[in-house]
Amino acid sequence: MALITCREAALGYDTGIVASGLNFAVESGDYLCVVGENGSGKSTLIKGLLRLKMPVSGEILMGDGLKANEIGYLPQQSAAQKDFPAGVLEVVLSGRQSKRGGRPFYSKKDREIAMENMEKLGIGHLKNHCYRELSGGQQQRALLARALCATEKLLLLDEPVAGLDPLATRELYDLIQMLNREQKLTIIMVSHDIRSAVEYADHILHLGNQQLFFGTPKDYLQTDLAKRFLGGAQDV
């Protein structure tokens, strides 16, 4: 069974349906990019996948023994975090919060896992630094390390490169690709950056308040939708 299966799922709020006709499956080891304009239902889909929002109709199923609290989530940064006094290790360790159960404190193993994930992303030397004094790229790596602490299977990334400079953007994409290929992590990424989506991902999901396309990047590039979207980006 696939890791995540959406069957005719529709998601929405009191004010109406935001995303409907969702029919797709994510297999273990996939790299799925979700693209679409602002307000096309991407954020709502994320809430649905995280089980913070139940589908209005249809269903979103999890398979392969995936539990809802085992998704490594990289949310968009909030304004409050930018001046939050927190050490990098403190932030990364908080990724283990759901594994602790009733214990009030983190164990040695939690710390080892946190350090391991920081080394993996090349920020081990920053563990005692202050989070708000890191560069944008380093902050995203710290949050990515935190997400890794919460999962062994699936990473869900919400606009991970928003606000990063081109170099940091490339580095982050390469890291995510490494995690997908070497760590066999399944990746679901919401992105505005459609060019990189086509380049890195092996599946594309295009939303426009309903599912407009789901398939491989190769097929996606043949569609008018992609031509319009990529063409539009070129004009800007």
Binding site: L50, L52, A68, N69, I71, Y73, P75, S78, A80, Q81, F84, P85, A86, G87, E90, V91, L93, S94, G95, Q97, S98, R100, P104, F105, Y106, N128, C130, R132, E133, R146, A147, A150, L156
Partner: protein, 276 residues
């Protein structure tokens, strides 16, 4: 100076005040870090006004003030949190609404029953003589409870304060921890209110956290520095208030203000040196 301290300790009412004050300052400073970072500072202020109303009514009805105020303020904390999370009236407006209403009700109640007298002034700006034996015992038990709960849930509180979205995503019930924070704050405020005064108690929550944030860069150090600074400021404040016969609450807040200004200055100088 030491003989003055010995002299102070010979008054049992002062010893009681110091014990309760220390515990309340400690609790307030710990909770304050999270409240300030979550942008909940105003909740502390709102709750103290609700506390004033509850206290006024309890005194007028001649019932034990703490046992009435605590449930009322805890309920208000519940309500304020609800309002600031999901409501058509925005959070800050809702807090102002509730705090001024309870202030008004409290004042009316007092003037109808006992008449406006020194009691009102004591509620507003605190009185060192306010604590009875039973109050002290209840205060000690409750503040130790607050401390234990804070330490047990320290990591969860950090996680929820830093990033509520992530915490919810990995299955942490963020709402429960917000509620815990609000309830602990409510208890702390009621305990400290009669000594510090309804107008001034929220300073104990906000000042130490802000002072610590001028200098510390990690959550853990901010929490520890905030606690130390709060306790020291309280001791200096109560000493000065005895020495110069000043109102206790106001002295403690003023010392906190001085500490904040000092630490801001040190922070700016340190930052300037690092940039060079």
């Amino acid at each position: 100076m030491f003989d003055v301290i010995f002299e102070m300790m010979s008054y049992t009412f002062l010893v009681r005040a110091v014990i309760v004050g220390l515990l309340v300052s400690l609790c307030a400073s710990l909770l304050g870090v999270s409240l300030v970072l979550k942008r909940y500072s105003m909740i502390g202020d709102g709750l103290s006004h609700v506390g004033f109303g509850a206290l006024a009514i309890a005194t007028a009805l001649n019932v034990a003030p703490l046992t009435v105020s605590i449930p009322v303020v805890v309920a208000a904390a519940f309500l304020l949190l609800r309002l600031s999370e999901n409501s058509k009236i925005k959070g800050d407006a809702a807090i102002a609404l509730i705090s001024t209403s309870s202030l008004a009700l409290g004042v009316i109640f007092i003037s109808v029953t006992t008449g406006m007298n020194t009691d009102v002034c004591n509620y507003m700006f605190g009185s060192i003589l306010a604590m009875s034996h039973a109050d002290v015992r209840l205060s000690i038990v409750l503040s130790i409870l607050v401390l234990i709960l804070f330490i047990l849930f320290y990591h969860k509180i950090f996680a929820v304060t830093f990033d509520e979205t992530f915490s919810r995503a990995v299955g942490t019930k963020a709402g429960i921890y917000n509620m815990l924070l609000a309830i602990l704050t409510a208890i702390t405020i009621v305990l400290g209110m009669r000594m510090m005064g309804a107008m001034l108690i929220s300073a104990l929550i906000i000042f130490p956290a802000l002072t610590a944030m001028r200098l510390c860069k990690r959550f853990q150090t901010v929490v520890i520095f905030s606690a130390v600074s709060s306790v020291l400021c309280f001791l200096v404040g109560i000493f000065l208030s005895y020495w110069y016969s000043l109102p206790t609450g106001a002295s403690v807040v003023t010392v906190n203000l001085v500490a904040l200004l000092l630490c801001s200055l040190i922070g700016v100088v340190k930052g300037g040196l690092q940039k060079r």
